[in-house]
């Protein structure tokens, strides 16, 4: 039964990849979990265990071989990436690569803020967006003010990654899918990124599903941990203190 209080519910989820001339490879199967509002669940496990694959399935980039996914109480089978993006803000380790290089920081953020509304025939303006960002993180707002007219391609990799995180939290997403989003960031930018994520969790009731190898960070930030182990197909959700 799906839990209508949960933002995302996953039932008996599994995925296999075909191999030419061989049996399909099962990445995982029988995965069940729910993500409640304001909950932060960390996905942990060795490389290749399926953390990113699970996030990509939820985002709609990959289709599961078995099982169901519900956003609130809606079955999202067949729903395309851009439709799920109304609900989901997503950041991967290399999200900066998917920013539009020809746009300025201002244009990128003004568009991102329209995730759940129509694009108008107005000129993109930063003012409204800046208010929202400064309520989430003053440091993030300062970062934007200093760079608003720069093309995103001019920013460094770390700066673009922070911009990708800001893009992900704008436009009222209900869930954030974070895939090792801090991996390439310096300590200063990591603090700003954490501030943004915790701010949308606490103030906007956003939930987070995050793949990470950083146990200390997970222990500090997350409410639950899902353990992935190579070859093991069942995910057990544990209270972080139980690890």
């Amino acid at each position: 039964m799906k839990d209508i209080d949960c933002l995302i519910s996953v039932f008996d989820l599994g995925i296999e990849f075909d191999q030419p001339g061989d049996k399909p490879v099962t990445i995982f199967k029988g995965v069940n979990f729910s993500l409640a509002p304001k909950e932060l669940i960390a996905l942990m496990g060795p490389n290749g265990c399926g953390k990113t694959t699970l996030l990509r399935i939820i985002a709609g980039e990959l289709t599961q071989t078995s099982g169901k996914i519900f956003f609130v109480n809606q079955d999202v089978d067949g729903s395309l990436v851009h439709k799920r993006a109304r609900f989901i803000g997503r950041v991967s380790q290399e999200s900066y690569k998917s920013l539009a290089s020809e746009l300025t920081v201002e244009e990128s953020l003004a568009l991102a803020n329209k995730r759940n509304s129509k694009l108008a025939l107005n000129f993109p303006k930063l003012n409204d967006v800046l208010d929202i960002i400064s309520k989430l993180s003053e440091k993030a707002a300062d970062f934007i003010i200093q760079r608003k007219n720069l093309a995103t391609r001019i920013l460094s990799g770390g700066q673009r990654q922070l911009l990708a995180i800001i893009v992900a939290v704008l436009g009222q997403p209900k869930v954030l899918l974070l895939d090792e989003h801090l991996a390439s960031l310096d300590e200063e930018i990591k603090i700003v990124a954490d501030e943004l994520v915790m701010s949308v969790v606490n103030n906007k009731n956003v939930s987070v599903l995050v793949a990470s190898h950083d146990f200390k960070w997970v222990e500090r930030m997350c409410t639950k941990v899902a353990r992935f182990e190579r070859g093991i197909v069942k995910i057990n959700l544990l209270e972080k203190n139980g690890l």
Partner: protein, 281 residues
């Protein structure tokens, strides 16, 4: 003097094509090769509607609508059937050949006598053409600065960004390809207006002229902002037409002009491997 006026007039007309190529090749990442057929379609639709007694404005609107429709079909086929844009547009180009002949019903359709009464004075015709061209350029520039236009510009280069902000890149591609075909058809209609006739081969080589002038324009203006990107279109086509004008004055036959254009385009592409990559990827 007359030749210079003709060059300015052709620049105003063919700027539409170069801008249309910016929409597809640059903004949409959709190398649409149906340009020649759509250009002829615009000219033929316009001439046929004039021949049937329509007014000039409504015949222009009819040509624009025909182009828009073809753009929708081209993008829809590519999106829906997941056909490579190059192949989808070449298929449409082939279909348009028959389609254009069917509309025309003959090899060519002269409309000079009809137009002469409306545009007896070349300068008057040029004034209208330049005003329409400049106005269209301004509308396009302002539109692509808006939120919707800004998002459209990222379609080809950053479809993942569009998806991440809950926009459908395929729909945006369709919009750009349709706008592009609409502009190309308008350009064809204006050329029929200038020449006073339309035939099925009027559009032959248009895409090469568009690409060559785009490369020339971008070499001069750059691509760093929307303003210079869109300025590259008239600048490139003006230089192209000046070169062709000089070639004519040196006695080169009109039969050889398209051969020359093709060779110049090959030379431009050979000199710049990045350009090859950008145009076709």
């Amino acid at each position: 003097m007359y030749q210079l006026l003709s060059i300015i007039e052709l620049t105003a007309i063919l700027s539409f094509v170069t801008i249309a190529i910016i929409f597809t090749f640059r903004f949409a990442g959709f190398p649409d090769l149906s340009v020649d057929g759509v250009f002829s379609l615009g000219a033929i639709t316009f001439a046929k509607l004039i021949y049937l007694g329509w007014g000039i404005s409504s015949a222009l609107a009819g040509a624009a609508f025909a182009g828009l429709l073809i753009g929708v079909v081209t993008a829809y086929i590519a999106n829906r059937l997941r056909i490579n844009p190059l192949l989808a547009s070449v298929v449409i180009l082939t279909i348009l050949y028959s389609f254009n002949l069917r509309i025309l019903g003959r090899a060519n359709l002269p409309i000079y006598s009809v137009l002469e009464s409306a545009f007896g004075n070349v300068k008057y015709r040029m004034l209208i053409l330049l005003t329409v061209s400049l106005g269209t350029w301004l509308v396009i520039f302002i539109f692509f600065k808006t939120e919707f236009g800004t998002a459209l510009r990222t379609t080809g280069s950053s479809p993942d960004f569009l998806s991440s902000i809950a926009r459908n890149p395929n729909f945006f591609r369709l919009v750009l390809v349709s706008f592009s075909s609409c502009l190309i058809a308008i350009s064809g209609a204006f050329l029929a207006l200038k020449f006073g006739f339309a035939d099925v081969s009027l559009g032959t080589g248009t895409i090469i002229i568009g690409i060559a002038s785009l490369i020339i324009g971008e070499k001069i203006c750059g691509r760093d902002s929307l303003l210079v990107q869109l300025l590259a279109a008239p600048v490139g086509i003006l230089i192209y037409e000046l070169v062709v004008g000089v070639a004519y004055s040196l006695g080169i036959s009109s039969i050889d002009v398209k051969l020359g254009t093709g060779l110049i385009t090959i030379a431009l592409l050979a000199l710049n491997s990045d350009e090859r990559h950008r145009l076709l990827n």
